[in-house]
């Protein structure tokens, strides 16, 4: 979808929706929101709805970063500690590597 063809009001609606959907534990939707509306929020000449779009983009961005930190911390901890967690580690694994501890 080309944002240039939408009215400013539609843009705000879309951005708000992406933010709300992202609240349902879907950080990737926030990430998309940030990338998609970044230019609209910070680079386009000012217009009425821009302030609100900016708000949603910032919120989505902060949310994405928090999620990214949490996920990478978990991933790192899991990769490093899986073996020493023993049975718990195996139970949490979807695929256990063959031939490795």
């Amino acid at each position: 979808m080309d944002l240039n063809r939408l009215t400013n009001e539609k843009k705000l609606q879309l951005c708000r929706w992406y933010f709300r959907v992202g609240c349902a534990l879907l950080p990737f939707v926030w990430a998309v929101n940030v990338v998609w509306f970044f230019k609209e929020a910070f680079m386009k000449p000012p217009y009425n709805e821009q302030k609100q779009i900016k708000k949603y983009v910032i919120l989505s961005g902060v949310g994405t970063i928090i999620w990214a930190v949490l996920l990478s911390a978990w991933s790192l901890a899991f990769q490093i500690k899986r073996v020493s967690w023993g049975a718990t580690g195996d139970a949490l694994s979807f695929i256990v590597p063959l031939g490795h501890p």
Partner: protein, 649 residues
Amino acid sequence: MISNISDAQWMVYNSSAGPYVAVVNTIVFNEVIEIFMQEPTNVAGILLYENATERPDFFSPETQCPNENSVGPDGKCAGDVVWNENGSGLLRRDIPFPIFFLPSSRISEIDKITQCHDRYNLDKDNQKGRPLCSLQLSSFMYAAVNTAVCLRRSATSIFGIAIKMCDPLGDYNVYSSLFPRPKETAKENKQVILVTARMDAASLFDGVAPGAASAVVGLVTLITTAATLSQMIPLSDAPLYNKNVLFTLFNGESYDYIGSQRVAYDISRGVWPPLSPITSKDINLHVELGQLGGSLNLFKDNPNWPLYAYAPYTYAIPPQVTEFLAEMSSYSQSNNMTIESEFSINLPPSSLHSFRKILSNATESGELPEILLVDHVGKFTNKFYQSALDDYESIGYTYHNITISNDGKFISTDDLISNGTMSENEAQVKVARVATSLAHTLYQQIVGTAYTGNISSSAHLVDEMLYCFLRSQACRLLVAADYYSNEDTPPDDRPAPLYVGVAAASTPAALYSGHLLALLTGTHLQVNRTACDKIGTPGFSYYYLRGWNHSGICIQTTMNFSQAISPAFIKPDYNITSAEFSTWTESVWLGLWARVFVRAAGVGARVAAAAGAFATILAAFTTYWLQRHASVIFLTPVADNGAIRSVNC
């Protein structure tokens, strides 16, 4: 190619293009393996090949104290008692690289590797960046860490996906009694003399576990004894005597006594043998044929073969033991054998340890008297214990290839010696003498009077049976003992590996031993196949085998199989880390393979990578430049009012 220690040291410390695969022969292996184990970073693997002309003095991958963790209360191998003195323990250690074995029959492969090696790899100082002859070994194993971990991972996870990574080791035990033991008479069961031996061996290598002195001699002695005893005492005499003999062959003994632990455990809970279980009180005496055959090669030039009877008593020797030893000793003397008694709490590795561990109340009080027959006192005489070299040569066995008559009569040992076919010094004769002595002793134990007849074990039978287990599965005895209806392709002309294998798939050892026991001790009935299948006398099983003239014979036998799977895998709520029972498992693996090729020096690969990177950067740069200067290259189309230019031909 490693031909001495300095080659190995060069490879480990000074080589430049590692890691390498070491090609080692069996003579050098003992000397270099520790160097590789200590510094494995430069070792990608080892290809071990058998030196056909010369043997090392010793080679045993088993530990110095085999099955040390499954011994009875006081059987620790400690201090000056080291049973397997030459054991390197490789079987029980974590080897960080694969080791492949090439038997002498495949020695031509080594010639090819040598040629390739000599052409490319001789210059040891300048190997980095040169094309080198290379060897690739593949033996990927699924399992990791230990049994607890791999079984847990093989079980279904909460996500529902699990790949089987390992299987418990196990197979079947074989048992057969002199007289039938039907269920009906369970209450008035006779006392039994338990005569046992093990039938499995191990080695580091898949498909090679000959176990000649580790297992085969004991196994063959047991089957021969059972065959002889069944000729001496007819079945119809069963009601006359109040004792019975239960011959049992244990499987999986190499791995912490799997088979005997299961039997002892089943006796303790009263479910073995399944048809009419015995308790430890019913066992009048337990005679185990342990490590036999190790010293046969030492005594190959004279008729001696000294045996030792270990009895784990220092005081209060049970009367059955004294009586048995006296009788056995006297019969041995009349058969030109010697047997010495060794009274020691410290028993050599043998299945007796399982009984001493699991039924310790009965064994310690002397209620279950035990004797172990071996041909070593103190350390093993077998220098190749549990190794690929523990084959027919290590017991000095040569096959005589004497035909078996159509009625299954074997030529007696005395006849063979008097007509010069065999000599007193040969392994076959010595094994037959031991079997005779044991059979006569068992006769006296049952009947109560000395044996005066002239039935003895035949060295001819021993010769054939050793051939089946040590040289070729495609042998006369096994053909005769096979199912009549078996239409599978005949087995290979090589010995069957005696490795116990995983419980999920059966290995030939138990089947062969069971069928041989049935054929040699069972009653041959002259009925056809349909009639044979219909008979159901309690206490017997009926097998329709090929028979001596291959026309089919109905065998009535007391032989049966029982599971040889460690109690650890059947006991509910068993704590797998308790070390109470054997918990060995085998990893699942994809095929094993090896290949030889010449590896490129790597210059070409580096040039290709550099060229590729350069081309990519150049293309990116060009694209960027073109985009920036598009207006210079492409003329802005002149608006020509939409007129279409056409070309007239």
